[in-house]
C-alpha cells in the first residue's frame, strides 16, 4: 500500500525535493565560498530584495504584464485567422505557407530596433513587437491543426452536403484545437519575451528596464528578484492558457487527441 502511494507521489515529490535541495545548496554554497554578491547572491538575499522592492517591482511589472497579455491576445486572433485562411484554398496555402515557414526560421528578435523607429519609444512599439514575435508560432500551429482533420471525416461531410463553413466549424476546428493550444503555449511565452526585449532596447519602463538598469549598476540581487517576478508572470500566463485549453476541451466534450477523435 505504502509502496503504491510512493510510486504515485514520486513524480511530484522528487522534482520538488530536487528544487528545494538546489535552493539550499545555492544558499549554503554562496555563504560558504563567500561568493561576491555582485556575481551571485543567495536566495535569501533575493527574497529580501523582492520584499523590499515589492512596490516598485509591482508597479513596473504592470506595463510588462499588460503589454504581454494584449500582445498575446492580438497575436492569437491574427495567428488563428491566418491559419484558418491558409486552409481555405490550396492555392492560398501554396502562395503563403513557405513564407510563413521562412519567417519562423529567421531571427526576428533583430527587428526590434525597427519597431522603435516606426512606433517610437512608447509601449505601442513593444506591444507591436510582441505581436510580431508570437504571431508566427500560433499561425503555424493553427494552420497545421486545421490541416490535421481526418480526410475521411471531411469526405463524409462533403457527401452529407455540409457547407464549407459547417465542415470548418464541426470538423476542422475540433481537430485543430490541440495544435492551436500548443501554438498558444509557445506564443504566450514568446509574447513576454517580445515585451522584455522591447524594454531592454528602449529602456523606459517595465521589468526588462529594471533588469537592464540593475545589471548596469551591478545590483545582482535586484536582477534576480526581477527575473523571479518575471518567471512568476510567465508561469501565470502559461497556466492561464493551459486552463483555457482544459475548458475548451471540456466544452467540446470528446477527448480530442492530436490524432483526432478516438
Amino acid at each position: 500500500m505504502a509502496a503504491i502511494r510512493w510510486r504515485a507521489w514520486r513524480p511530484i515529490v522528487l522534482p520538488l525535493l530536487f528544487a528545494g535541495a538546489l535552493l539550499l545548496a545555492w544558499q549554503e554554497l554562496t555563504g560558504w565560498l563567500a561568493v561576491s554578491p555582485m556575481l551571485l547572491v543567495p536566495p535569501s538575499a533575493i527574497w529580501s530584495v523582492l520584499v523590499q522592492a515589492w512596490p516598485v517591482l509591482l508597479a513596473q511589472s504592470w506595463p510588462t504584464l499588460v503589454n504581454s497579455v494584449v500582445g498575446f491576445l492580438l497575436a492569437s486572433g491574427l495567428g488563428i485567422a491566418l491559419g484558418g485562411a491558409l486552409v481555405v484554398s490550396r492555392r492560398v496555402e501554396q502562395a503563403f505557407w513557405p513564407h510563413v515557414l521562412i519567417f519562423q526560421l529567421i531571427p526576428k528578435v533583430a527587428v526590434a530596433p525597427l519597431f522603435i523607429i516606426w512606433l517610437g519609444m512608447g509601449p505601442t512599439s513593444r506591444l507591436a513587437f510582441a505581436v510580431f514575435l508570437s504571431f508566427f508560432p500560433i499561425a503555424v500551429s493553427a494552420a497545421t491543426g486545421f490541416r490535421a482533420a481526418d480526410p475521411t471525416a471531411l469526405r463524409l461531410c462533403r457527401s452529407l452536403t455540409a457547407t464549407t463553413w459547417q465542415t470548418f466549424l464541426r470538423v476542422r476546428v475540433p481537430y485543430a484545437i490541440p495544435h492551436i493550444f500548443a501554438g498558444l503555449k509557445v506564443g504566450v511565452t514568446v509574447a513576454i519575451i517580445g515585451v522584455v526585449i522591447g524594454e531592454f532596447v528602449t529602456a523606459q519602463e517595465g521589468l526588462g528596464y529594471i533588469i537592464m538598469f540593475a545589471s548596469s549598476a551591478a545590483q545582482t540581487a535586484l536582477v534576480f528578484a526581477t527575473i523571479a517576478l518575471l518567471c512568476g508572470i510567465g508561469l501565470l500566463l502559461y497556466g492561464a492558457v493551459a486552463l483555457g485549453e482544459w475548458f475548451v476541451r471540456r466544452w467540446y466534450g470528446a477527448p480530442i487527441s492530436a490524432g483526432g477523435f478516438e
Binding site: 514520486r10 513524480p11 522528487l14 522534482p15 525535493l17 530536487f18 528544487a19 555582485m38 556575481l39 551571485l40 492555392r91 501554396q94 502562395a95 503563403f96 505557407w97 513557405p98 513564407h99 521562412i102 519562423q104 526560421l105 529567421i106 531571427p107 526576428k108 528578435v109 533583430a110 527587428v111 526590434a112 530596433p113 525597427l114 522603435i116 523607429i117 516606426w118 511565452t189 513576454i192 519575451i193 522584455v196 526585449i197 531592454f200 532596447v201 521589468l207 526588462g208 533588469i211 537592464m212 540593475a214 545589471s215 548596469s216 551591478a218 545582482t220 536582477v223 534576480f224 526581477t226 527575473i227 518575471l230 518567471c231 510567465g234 508561469l235 502559461y238
Partner: protein, 255 residues
C-alpha cells in the same frame, strides 16, 4: 495525369515566388510613389544599394555573429545530447530533473541575458553561454523523446538475438532517436542565432546585433534592413546545414 502533377509542381514553386515578387514590387511602388521618407521605410532598391555599398562592413560584422551562432548551435547539440543521455539512463534522475527542466522552459529566459554579462563579461564567452543556454533545451527534449520512443519489441528482439547493449544502442535506439534529435536541432539553430543577437544587443562592440542597434540609434533604416537580410541568410544557412546533415546522417545510418 503527368500534366496535372507537372502543373501542380510548377505552382508550388511559382506561387510563393510570385507572392514574394509581388510583395517587393508593391513595397517599391508604395515607397517611391508616396515618397515615404527612407527613415520610415526604405524601398527595396535602397536596401539593395545599402547591401552592396556596405558589403565589406556587413560581412565583417556577420563573421562574428555567424561564427558565434554556429559554435552555439554545435554546443547546444552536444549539451542537449548529454542531458538527454543522462535523463534517459536513469528513471529517478529523470523524474527528479525533467519537470524542473520543463518548468524552466516556461519562463522568459531572454531576461537572463544581462546575468551572463555580469558573470562572463561582454565578450564572446558570455554570448556563447547564453545562446547555448537558451537553445540546448529543444535538442535535449527531442533526443530524450526519441530515445524513449524506441519500439520495445525491437529491443526485445535484439536482446533475444543476444545483441550487446552497445549494439542495441547503435543499431536500434540511435536510428529511432535521430529524427527527433534533428528536429530539436532545427529549433536550436534558430534559437542560437537569436541568443547571439540578443547578447550583441546588450553587450557587444561588434556583430550584426550591435550593428543593427547602432544603425537604429542613428535612424539609418536602410542599414538595419541590409543587416537583417544578412542575418536572415545566416539563420537560413544554419537551418539548411542541419537539414543537409540530417539527410547525410540518416542515409549513412540506413546503409
Amino acid at each position: 495525369m503527368p500534366d496535372a502533377t507537372g502543373r501542380e509542381r510548377l505552382l508550388t514553386v511559382a506561387l510563393p515566388t510570385g507572392t514574394a515578387v509581388a510583395f517587393l514590387a508593391v513595397w517599391q511602388a508604395v515607397a517611391t510613389l508616396w515618397a515615404i521618407p527612407a527613415v520610415i521605410l526604405p524601398a527595396p532598391s535602397d536596401i539593395v544599394r545599402q547591401l552592396v555599398g556596405s558589403w565589406g562592413e556587413l560581412l565583417y560584422q556577420a563573421s562574428f555573429t555567424g561564427a558565434e551562432a554556429l559554435a552555439a548551435c554545435v554546443l547546444s547539440g552536444i549539451v542537449g545530447i548529454l542531458v538527454a543521455a543522462m535523463l534517459a539512463s536513469s528513471t529517478p534522475l529523470r523524474e527528479m530533473l525533467y519537470p524542473n527542466l520543463v518548468a524552466f522552459q516556461l519562463i522568459p529566459k531572454i531576461a537572463l541575458a544581462p546575468l551572463f554579462v555580469i558573470w562572463l563579461g561582454i565578450d564572446a564567452p558570455s554570448r556563447l553561454a547564453f545562446s547555448t543556454f537558451i537553445s540546448f533545451f529543444p535538442v535535449a527534449i527531442g533526443t530524450l523523446t526519441g530515445l524513449q520512443s524506441t519500439n520495445p519489441n525491437a529491443i526485445r528482439l535484439c536482446q533475444s538475438l543476444t545483441a550487446s547493449p552497445s549494439q542495441i544502442f547503435r543499431h536500434v535506439q540511435v536510428p529511432y532517436a535521430l529524427p527527433f534529435f534533428f528536429s530539436g536541432m532545427k529549433v536550436a539553430a534558430t534559437l542560437s542565432v537569436i541568443g547571439i543577437v540578443v547578447g550583441e544587443f546588450i553587450s557587444s562592440k561588434h556583430g550584426l546585433g550591435s550593428y543593427i542597434l547602432l544603425a537604429g540609434s542613428r535612424a539609418e533604416t536602410a542599414r538595419i534592413f541590409a543587416a537583417l537580410v544578412v542575418l536572415c541568410v545566416i539563420g537560413l544557412a544554419l537551418y539548411g546545414a542541419i537539414a543537409w546533415l540530417e539527410l547525410r546522417v540518416r542515409r549513412a545510418w540506413r546503409g
